[in-house]
């Protein structure tokens, strides 16, 4: 294969590959900005992937079939909000340890999605997934057109969410509240902001986005569901928030870096250079550790009260 074609392939595959991570990671950014560290992201993605898979599988022949994917995304969004609420109940209202509670939510979502799948669907079935929507005109730009403008609509949506998240976080009153309750909840409280309510809202938003990320995996990327479909992407999404220094643009960069590394590795394998399959699967996880080790200075810029529950009555 000529080098130009290979670069084109890596980029045009890498862009849609980044979407699941991008969606979940932007959601996690809102959680962490509000001061809550949600490791349950992984579990929410598992449930999102499963819930999204249900409608298209069962509506295959019915009159609602054309809306299968849409209903799937709606189900994943709803499920994500509910799990976000559950996590908020445990960590905001009950003020439980966030790291361990996150692992609990991860086990819950992972186990439940697998169990439900085995009960309601069982064997391996695929879905049609979403067709590409080439953007008229733009998609015909040589080289760039195929990389950026020839994808399914969720890809465009996810990329539009990057500036949208930036706008919400830095240019709206709600975004200011989110940043305030993550940095100085006591000051926010004395200014009349309902700290825990804002944290609930951020967790619901984060849950919804993690659910959508999972839905993207099962409906658009893999076009099937399996127990280990998410395979740690929820944890990677959390790591990307550190890497991206809690900013939407940084997170976009991180998500692209990860997906490009993965497509690069795929194309090296297809290109005939052999190395054990297991090492290829390992790559993103090794990359996460490296990225976290290199991003250590970022800690200083993180939300000051990340991981600390808020209690109005407690004195420090």
């Amino acid at each position: 294969m000529n080098p130009g074609g290979m670069v084109y392939n890596i980029l045009s595959l890498g862009v849609p590959f980044s979407v699941a991570l991008l969606l979940a990671s932007l959601g996690e950014m809102f959680n962490q900005r509000a001061g809550v560290f949600n490791l349950g992201c992984e579990g929410i993605m598992c449930m999102g992937a499963f819930l999204a898979f249900l409608p298209p599988t069962f509506l295959k022949a019915g009159p609602l079939a054309p809306y299968g994917n849409l209903l799937g995304f709606a189900a994943a969004l709803g499920g994500g909000v509910l799990l976000g609420l559950l996590f908020a109940l445990v960590t905001v209202t009950f003020r439980a340890d966030q790291g361990i509670a996150g692992i609990g939510l991860q086990m819950f979502g992972w186990g439940l999605s697998g169990s439900l799948f085995r009960h309601y669907i069982g064997g391996v079935t695929g879905v049609e997934g979403m067709a590409a929507w080439p953007i008229p005109g733009l998609a015909r730009i040589p080289f760039l057109g195929g990389i950026l403008f020839n994808h399914n609509p969720v890809v465009y949506f996810a990329f539009l969410l990057v500036p949208a998240s930036w706008y919400v976080l830095y240019r709206t009153p709600w975004g200011l509240k989110v940043r305030a309750v993550g940095t100085a909840p006591r000051a926010a409280d004395s200014m009349g902001i309902h700290v825990n309510r804002v944290r609930y809202q951020a967790l619901m938003l984060g849950g919804a986005m993690a659910g959508l990320g999972g839905a993207y995996l099962s409906l658009c990327q893999a076009k099937m569901f399996a127990d280990d479909l998410v395979a740690g992407r929820g944890f990677i999404a959390v790591a990307l928030v550190y890497f991206g220094r809690w900013s939407p643009l940084g997170i976009l960069g991180g998500a692209l870096l990860f997906s490009l590394a993965q497509t690069l590795q795929l194309s090296i394998q297809v290109g005939g250079i052999k190395f054990p399959y297991e090492f290829a699967v390992m790559l993103p996880y090794v990359l996460v550790i490296l990225v976290l080790a290199l991003a250590r200075k970022a800690r200083m810029r993180g939300p000051a009260q990340l991981g600390v529950p808020f209690d109005r009555e407690m004195r420090y």
Partner: protein, 372 residues
Amino acid sequence: MGNSFRIGYGAAVVTAATLAAAGAGALALLAVGASPLATYATIFTGPFKDLFGVSEILVRAVPLILVALGIAISFRSGIINIGAEGQMLMGILAATATALALKGLPGWALLPLTLLAGAAGGGLWAGIAGLLRARLGVNEILSTVMLNYIAAQLYTFLLRGPMIDPGELETGSGTPQSMRLPRAAWLSRLVPGTRLHTGLLLALVLAVAVYVLLWHTTWGFRLRAAGAEAKAARYAGISVERSLVTAMVLSGAFAGLAGAVELTGVHHRAIENISSGYGFAGIVVALFGALHPAGIVPAAVFFGLLLVGADMTQRTAGVPANMILVLQGVIILAIVSAKMYLNNAYAQERARRMWARLRRPSSAAPRPGGLS
């Protein structure tokens, strides 16, 4: 009011948490079309039907005790180890390699060396996360989770390639498993006709050892001090960084040992899915046992029951195997929530005021001399 209220409050919190966990588990069971009552009944009574069932509870409890002891050490020392699953696998790899390489040795030398190799394998693997946290401030939850995925791939790679039983290649079946360990490296059976092995005694001895280490040595005090309040510990001259790494290595060594014990006691060769979720269940056991050896041993037996019972419901009632993860998940959520209410003086005070108001609804103003 004081003491009796506190006991009643504690009991109420624990009851509420238990009911919430059981209720959430029941909802999940209903969702997969199983009857919650019948499932719970099978889980909690099924294993007691015969001697084999009872012995299996203890067989499962052995790795759970070991893993949970390690996790208790790390949690007490202020570093959260979620990587026991991967550390077990690395321990199994190291133990298998050692036992196969030193085949000729007599049992009194080979078995201890095999177990030590397991502990070393797990300890070194955990040490990566410990060093990353101490030196570079890398979040240890994320790094240990990532190390789990990496260890799982490494394990499969070695079992499919370099460490595969040559017999598997000859017959062409290609099952990814190592050669059988020499008999000298097997833990002996405690009860004939069951799988219960002497690893149980080892686990119980180590439970006592961990208790002595953490609560009756200076070293253990340093670890716990660094975990309880890092700033104060540092002020007292304790190297918090070193203590974090030590705790993590020790914690991983226990997980690795759990793997080696499972290998030499039950399976006698490295196979796929050998850790079967003990690494995650061990976290739940450690939390359930209040991060104390005296709590961990009974908690491990309880979860051993839960695991054996869940296997039975899978076979008899067709409840998916992943359901055990759901139960563990809700139990974790219930425990961490309840823990806050048990430890937080403010929450307790709030409950006390509410209770006082409920008991005297008629009188709005406090009665004179009503100092309660």
